[in-house]
Symmetry: C2
Subunit: 413 residues, 2 copies
Amino acid sequence: MVVDDIKTLDQNDPLTSYKAQFALPDEVIYLDGNSLGALPKRVSERMEETTRQQWGQDLISSWNKHQWVTLPQRVGAKIAPLIGANAEEVVCCDSISVNLFKLLAAAITFNGTHVRNRIVSSHDNFPTDLYIAQGLETLLGSERCQFVDVAEDELMHAIDDQTAVVMVTEVNFRSGKRLDIAALAQKAHQHGALILVDLAHSAGVMPIHLNQWRVDMAVGCTYKYLNGGPGAPAFLYVRSDLLGNLQQPVAGWFGHSNPFAFAADYTPDQGIKQFLAGTPSVISMAAVDASLELFSDLDMEQVRTKSMQLTQVFHELIEQTGLTKTLTLLSPLSANERGSQLSYAFDYAYELCQALIARGVVADFRAPNFIRFGFAPLYNSFDDVWKAVELVQQVIESKDYLQPRWAQRQTVT
Amino acid sequence: MVVDDIKTLDQNDPLTSYKAQFALPDEVIYLDGNSLGALPKRVSERMEETTRQQWGQDLISSWNKHQWVTLPQRVGAKIAPLIGANAEEVVCCDSISVNLFKLLAAAITFNGTHVRNRIVSSHDNFPTDLYIAQGLETLLGSERCQFVDVAEDELMHAIDDQTAVVMVTEVNFRSGKRLDIAALAQKAHQHGALILVDLAHSAGVMPIHLNQWRVDMAVGCTYKYLNGGPGAPAFLYVRSDLLGNLQQPVAGWFGHSNPFAFAADYTPDQGIKQFLAGTPSVISMAAVDASLELFSDLDMEQVRTKSMQLTQVFHELIEQTGLTKTLTLLSPLSANERGSQLSYAFDYAYELCQALIARGVVADFRAPNFIRFGFAPLYNSFDDVWKAVELVQQVIESKDYLQPRWAQRQTVT
């Protein structure tokens, strides 16, 4: 592969016009959109309008005038087509952690029966998913809730007739490996269990077909490939035919069927609104709403095609430059079997990451020893990939990563 | 009371300079800061800086560079002196509803014993407080968690040796009545129970002494008198000597002792950080952080004095103009016994509220039949009070509230 091949790929890229919609800094190759998506220009404009005009000038009247009160559902409806769901099956609210808690508890108490007590997940799921299940087990006691975590490739075997819910993340945050959600859903249903899918690393970067795959419940993140901003509210999906049978325990007033009646007794909304808890975080959610406009006329198959090409070209260049002698690919070799990231194990992964950041290539380190490169098809080009690999090569061949200055560990990377 | 008295009050107001710090619309008398506080000018500036520079330009590095990772604790530390707590006892996170769930569950499972099962509250507490307790009872079953709600004046008698936790709101959202928290805490402790206080309607508008009152746990709102913006993250307090003995169940990764080790097992942080769940909502929390700067050199006794004067003058003018024949005061008559609001029952409270809004006086309606006037000492003047009462008088004496156009009910008011 030579630089002309890269030029051709960029010239033929149907998504090339999207980059101008983002406020990326010059001279930075940002390969960390899988951790924090870049800022869409329209988002800063919307936040200013929401703050200065809606909050500042229209004040309390904005709950009606600007429909703040229905923001969770309106934003949910915009996310729905990106995940293969109906508009009335998705809301935007809280964090993934809180939403997992609501859904796991609802699954454990499904139909009011407590016969099934197991939450089955994989040991290398994202930690917060594991922790939330552990927290629920501690609260309910192991007779009512038992958390079972197995190796990722043991998942199918671990699902049995005691399983209340299978909790999986579609794309693994470490390896980038993509699970076959439809197969897991089928297996769960064969055993009368529910399936709950975390879409943190897939929403906005690949087609997702929750209804078609018969997924029961899902959560996802808006601050990665959906570019909603740091710590932006998460989303939550429940398949419509289950809505009447599930009750979530964080029974805040926004989940009430008629919150503004201020009744003393909780009557859950019969729809997806039941899964809301407190007052929505308006300005953050308006940011997500604005960001989602970018996706309204986007073909997710096109996004996926480019995403696969980006990871493929990156790894081909890593191989071509002989860097696979130093960096061990943790991700599946086939682009089809992974999400939009590549992870490499390396004893000096932290230092390599810091040395790359200093050269304008932003990737991230994850303990204990790997570096992740994330590819955002809306703003990453093939030229970014070419230049990034050149700089990786430069740092590794010069052994610059051995310089003590890169080893100053910080809290987060 | 004549207009000259009003002028004198404004001239002697030590807080008069604060109004210029807010971006209030001209021609509006905003008496709804108890529902949504006004926009401090520094907040819109901070949000733009956080969005455009920190997120847009510094991207993922901001978690370290701008210390996003410690925002919940840093904002908590700024709230602490306003509520009589130590810096390490408060965090900013999630919504009041979610925080109540965490704390009620922690209280019910206090020290791992499940001997005490009762949550005692008052029937007219804010609905979300009641709903969250009901949700927890439904999840845990009434053997482990029984929610008992009594009339507000029966609270002291309802606390007994089966009480795990007493849950009260310092200032009632309907009547504005202020409870004697120190007395309730003492009673709770006599019976070996914990006390959890909701400060939604008191934080930022009156001195609060959680440590001195021996309050065990508290939650509060930042979007009312703390002016953090619509749906801004709430706060949560736990007295330091209890931190080691409480475990909250929404065990998200930000509550882990070392989240960035990405370990598979949850090890709760030993401090207040345990009460965090998911990734913090950075931009919303930065807004709260900026708003709190206004409070850094504020004497809360002065704020309380002005707040009491504002409610007192308003009601005196209502009496003086003979409006008490029409409007029935729901709030305690003595300013000392109420928060910073006045509520009046009136069959046409909704229509009165709408007619006032059309004249630039913003108050709010609460079902079934009362109007609330909230007073924010940082931006409300005595002249606001004078003019507002004049307009109330105008609407009532002209019977303008009977016009059909005011009766178009909207979702929220």
